[in-house]
């Protein structure tokens, strides 16, 4: 079994071999092949959007995905939530000495496949190796570049009372999938991560772009934390309907067992959309036409208030949905 050596990061022959035999075999963009220090890209029409995100998920392989796929999804979805069409990625790897080269290759293949599948090109990259024990297998940072879509006018300042809150699918799948294979959690589950790039889904509803006011992918902190941020920024209340919140029964059961609330579990392939009230039903139906939006639901609405999130329970009681306070769930993405 071949492993990553410290020499793979020294800029010499080993490093060159790693780039040529592994990275360039899977990342095919012409700019990468030039092996220069910076990628030169053609000008794009409109404003640029840039975002960056680091991925340290533990374990790096989990049901439904791996750190490579995740590092594309997270950044692509952030560009979308920012109102931009994703175009390019720069990818930076930090490798722990001793990582199996086969594992690294599996991650690289998954990253490259995911990028290709969603039409995003990897145009720049870097690799560093740190001594054993100073990282946990591998960490990835992806920087995404996109073109602002001028049809999307998004932001908490555009949200109005009466607007609908739509969730593009079930809550909490990624969190339970990762927790299920974490050392120390002895339970089995069939839940797989929802980890997916959402540009196909979002562009499938492009006829409704003028009806959207706010987008956000509810990753860390889940739907609960994400909507608390919106409520606070917009100084409006958000009222959720428990009966409309889509949660898989397996996720609900596992969350109950672990004492967690699916509202706060992270997602990696879901989008929260705030849409004008009159268009919300159509937006929701349009989302359901796409494979990644089949289980989309209108989960609540905004109303005048002071920046709080509420949940109307199935029995008609109303309770607060607080910002989560330090859940013991580190390194979920």
């Amino acid at each position: 079994m071949k492993r990553v050596l410290l020499a793979h990061g020294d800029g010499g022959l080993y490093a060159a071999a790693l780039i040529k035999d592994l990275f360039l075999r899977h990342f095919r963009h012409a700019e990468l092949g030039r092996l220069s220090d910076a990628a030169l890209l053609s000008p794009v029409d409109g404003r640029l959007a840039v975002t960056t995100d680091s991925f340290v998920v533990q374990p790096p392989f989990f049901p439904g995905g791996d750190i490579g796929k995740l590092s594309v999804c997270g950044t692509v979805n952030d560009l979308l939530a920012g109102g931009a069409q994703p175009l390019y990625l720069a990818v930076s790897f930090i490798l722990e000495e001793g990582l199996l080269l086969d594992e690294l290759e599996a991650v690289v293949v998954s990253l490259a496949d995911t990028a290709r599948s969603c039409g995003v090109e990897v145009v720049a990259g870097d690799t560093k190796v740190v001594p054993r024990g100073q990282a946990d297998k591998l960490y990835i940072t992806t920087t995404g570049i996109g073109r602002a879509d001028e049809r999307l006018l998004l932001g908490a300042e555009h949200v109005r009372p009466g607007d609908a809150v739509i969730l593009s699918g079930t809550a909490g799948d990624h969190g339970i999938a990762v927790l299920s294979c974490r050392t120390g959690v002895s339970f089995q589950t069939q839940v797989v991560s929802d980890c997916a790039p959402l540009n196909g889904l979002i562009y499938a509803i492009s006829p409704y772009f003028s009806s959207l006011r706010w987008l956000r992918d509810p990753t860390r902190g889940g739907v609960g934390a994400t909507l608390n941020e919106l409520a606070e920024r917009a100084v409006l209340d958000i009222v959720l309907e428990e009966k409309s919140l889509p949660v898989r029964p397996e996720v609900r059961a596992a969350a109950e067992l672990l004492g967690l609330d699916p509202l706060y579990l992270p997602n990696e392939g879901k989008m929260i959309l705030v849409a004008k009230q009159e268009a919300a039903a159509e937006v929701c139906l349009a989302l359901r036409e796409h494979p990644l939006g089949r289980e989309a639901e209108i989960i609540g609405h905004l109303e005048r208030g002071t920046g709080s999130v509420w949940l109307r329970t199935v029995l008609g009681g109303t309770r607060g949905v607080e910002m989560p306070a330090g859940l013991p769930l580190p390194r979920i993405c």
Binding site: V185, R319, A325
Partner: protein
Amino acid sequence: MLSGIELAQAQQLLASIQKKLPGQLAIMEVCGTHTTAISKYGLRPLLEPLRLLSGPGCPVCVTAAGDLDRMIALAGAGCIVATFGDLLRVPGSKTSLEQEQADGADVRIVYSPLDALKIAANNRQRPVVFLGVGFETTAPAMALAVKQAKERGLTNFYLYSCLKTVVPALHALLAAPHGLDGLLLPGHVSSVIGRQAQDFVASLYGMPAAVVGFGERDILLGIAAVVRMIEEGKPGVINAYPRVVREEGNLLAQKLLAETFNIAAAEWRGFGVIPASGYVLKPEFAGHDAALLFDLPHGAVPQEQEACRCGDVLRGAIIPTECALFAGRCLPLTPLGPCMVSSEGACAAYYRYDRKKGVAPA
């Protein structure tokens, strides 16, 4: 979440309770999981004027300050400390496990004592202490871990037992003055000890009670049963959770507990020392008993931070919002008492779900 039929049944129960309530009754949900569930389902405002009070059934909350200090001292003494996540932020008299962890202590969150056993197997040269906080529900898993450690020769695995048994606390609660009209008894604990072990609640103290499950319908079913007994003036201990709880309980779990632990006096927050209410390891497991083998701080520790009323909350004397510190100086990230930080703590539940008054418009 409730299915269509269950929802209809729950709505019916709710309506029947609302119709029957004879003025202001006080019913205690003994178990912390019930407190949290009732808040999470938004039941409190729907059941007014019924006053639902929390009880001593949150294991982290009833852990005495001195025990917390000793557990925190273990973390500072170079042990790997394995614990349920709940304990991490609970304040001792000076510091917390979370602060010790930030200062370099090796504290690991596990979901089962058997996971702590795995840590011990993978770190044979280091002592691994599992912080045993819980009632009859969690105690059997800890008994199993200790037995396995002994069988497998994992001499570096230790239990620090703050495990407690619920029945003596019910006696302590009901023998003292209280303003309670009925009790909801803990479903999970009852699955181990059985319904009949709690008959004394009605026969000795004349208190109507029901063993209750944790869904919306379960809880409403239990409340309806207790309200009916109050109304008819016929106290009993009803099993409203028969799909899980048997008359005699789980005999295997009881046997495991009896083989592993002796019963001893234990200190409870809010109650002080209650005789015969704690589980301590039997002498044959002394080699795995952290309380015997580590040099831990002794001496009296004040029960609570000044002005913290966790003790009153745990006795059902007040509800969390009646504590002057609630949501002001005492917050989930900077708790002054354990009830604000444990996932089963009453103050945490009220802060999360019930703090904001007024119901959002339909």
